[in-house]
Symmetry: C2
Subunit: 396 residues, 2 copies
């Protein structure tokens, strides 16, 4: 893998080291031309006929198949659409429907809040006595029991980068008759994922983080082929119908994963995402992972050498981490602002987490070394004490 | 209103008369530059900070307020996001929750199928014995009873353009203690809508038809302010949380309409939509409606003169129509293909409806006259009999 070549495919601002691609990936250089083509040649020229002539209608499946390769899923088992919150809702509603006699949804305290909120909203709407049980990440397996309908987890923790053992937890869930939903928000494009080998039942993820699909890029959902025909969609929109353009009065689910489509797909977002996936098509995930680990190890060693006040919040063992490195520091918010002022962009998660995404497609050793030096300078200069870095604004 | 000026703001292909803006509106000339700015100056340069610095996070409310004016809603009562199917689900789940002792969802046979499908999916998921009752459009008021939780209708029929009396039906629903959901897919940007005056409870619509927001542009939802704080969201995503960036473990609904947000909004689609709304900001809806009626009347008279085999499927009285005109013709599919080959783009809905959208922003008298002449030529030449026009493809 030639990662210098992939780096050249991104339009990164001068003087910026971007370690926040785990929140929003940067702009692929080809995205502007791709989007311009969609506007001028497709929307502008073909108008309504572009749904077929430009292939818009099939795009959620076509791009889904390209993402499937990155997450070890069968090509026909992934479709794009909506947002991750909606896709989690679909997966959870389907899983509960497949386990009608069980009432427990098991998750962990490291799950991203929207997954928990979606479960709470669904439980309230269903009104059938389901309960959401959240336990510390390391205790998940021990809490899977005969009442557990589904184990719903984010594989890689958004704060610490701690990674679950997808295969072991899935096996434990199956042994107890439970299903699994894996949120791959911080996995897709970040680490090697093999949904098929793990036997995962459902998965969902977003495409605007490590996949670089652009702000508001659509989410994806995976349903294991063994379940695909058994799923009864709760969000039964017309594009998940067996024949959307027959305009029948009654819903009939489409074949397999097609039924997880809901409404009209976001064509402009898909065009930008396509430009990003053109880069991913050439990426070997094992090579990417090896480089992510090497860069992460270099970053941890460097930061610990120059900034002993920062405490590693991520697991020290590479196998237990995703592709981000987090440190705890009581003044982390202001320290991160100081770092951003120096052109090194990471982000902060309360109460004290400084978070750095390591994306080998556009981050190299030199970037890591520059970031380490900037962290050292912020710490040496106690820059977090400066008033301009202490004002809090909403962060994402 | 200077409609010649608005027409110049759209990039329409040479030689095309576009009468399908009720399906997908055409490209505003300003969209390409607007999108380019979002890519280069916002996503590319600001990266993650654009969520605040470029105002992305607030955009669903800001654009919602601009749409609110077009549909007679309070500025703070509309928010953008997701697709119309999802927004209908949210409105329906909320309405059923507000009327827990009632089991009937009343709709009509003219509703767009996805609204009915969404109701069927929700009923199945809830499993509480709700039932969807669909009656002919003219019988809706007579079927509102004490068990009716919600009357869910599309104001303007997607096939015939027949328009409901929103105010009368809403009053009848309220008299029986029921709520209303108005699907404005074929109303927003097409006719004068006054949700507040009608006392509508919920409304939703899409922005890619008459509003010209682009393929896959986000939907909008309106909740009457009197209900907004009472709604318990079933799709409780993090951006509808009172403090999304506090990352709390438990969902707390945001203030008012904010709670109808779900996940990350589609920033690129919103940029294109903004370019379209820049045009709408200058439009007087009463003037638009008057022109729509004048153009529609001219079209009906002209078509009936040159093509007596076509039967008007839309109501003859302008007040009973939206901004489209439909004709029935047994060979309508092939006739529409022949018409498209002549550069007049309308569309076809089974079994026999030829559908023409009348969008005064970019359609003028000369376009109407050209379309009439083309229809006359297709009919005179029996062009629907040509084999090349009889092959069916999926249409949208």
């Amino acid at each position: 893998m030639d990662f210098a070549a992939t780096k050249a495919l991104f339009d990164l601002p001068d003087g910026v080291i971007y370690l926040d691609g785990n929140s929003l990936g940067p702009l692929p250089r080809a995205a502007a031309a791709r989007l311009q083509r969609t506007l001028a040649e497709e929307w502008g020229e073909m108008l309504i006929t572009a749904w077929n002539r430009a292939g818009w209608m099939a795009q959620p499946r076509r791009l889904g198949a390209r993402i499937a390769r990155l997450i070890g899923a069968e090509p026909e088992s992934v479709v794009l659409g909506d947002t991750l919150s909606i896709k989690i809702h679909q997966a959870l509603a389907a899983a509960l429907d497949l386990r009608p006699d069980r009432r427990k949804i098991l998750s962990d305290t490291g799950n991203f809040p929207t997954d928990l909120y979606i479960a709470q909203g669904l439980i309230g709407a269903l009104g059938r006595g389901h309960r959401l049980v959240t336990v510390p990440p390391e205790q998940v397996a021990a809490h899977i029991d005969e009442d557990t309908a589904v184990v719903m987890l984010t594989e890689v923790d958004y704060r610490t980068g701690r990674r679950h053992d997808m295969k072991a937890i899935t096996a434990a869930a199956h042994a107890a008759g439970a299903l699994t939903i894996w949120d791959l928000a911080h996995s897709a494009g970040a680490i090697e994922v093999d949904l098929a080998a793990a036997g995962a039942d459902f998965a969902a993820g977003c495409t605007y983080k490590f996949l670089n699909g652009g702000p508001g890029a659509p989410a994806f959902i995976h349903v294991a082929p063994r379940h695909a025909e058994a799923v009864r969609p709760a969000l039964s929109g017309w594009l998940g119908h067996a024949e959307p353009f027959a305009f029948e009065p009654d819903y009939r689910p489409g074949a397999g994963i097609e039924r997880m489509r809901v409404g009209t797909p976001p064509v402009l977002q898909m065009a930008a995402l396509e430009a990003a996936l053109d880069i991913w098509d050439g990426v070997d995930m094992a090579a990417l992972r090896a480089r992510s680990v090497a860069l992460s190890e270099r970053f941890i060693a460097g930061v610990e050498a120059v900034a002993p006040a920062l405490t590693l919040a991520s697991p020290r063992e590479p196998e237990a981490r995703g592709s981000q490195v987090s440190f705890r520091f009581a003044e982390g918010y202001a320290a991160m602002q100081a770092l951003i002022a120096r052109g090194v962009i990471g982000d902060f998660r309360a109460p004290d987490i400084m978070r750095f995404g390591i994306a080998p497609l556009y981050i190299d050793e030199s970037d890591i070394d520059t970031a380490i030096a900037a962290i050292g300078a912020v710490m040496d200069g106690r820059e977090w004490e400066r008033p301009e870095f202490r004002t809090r604004a909403a962060v994402t």
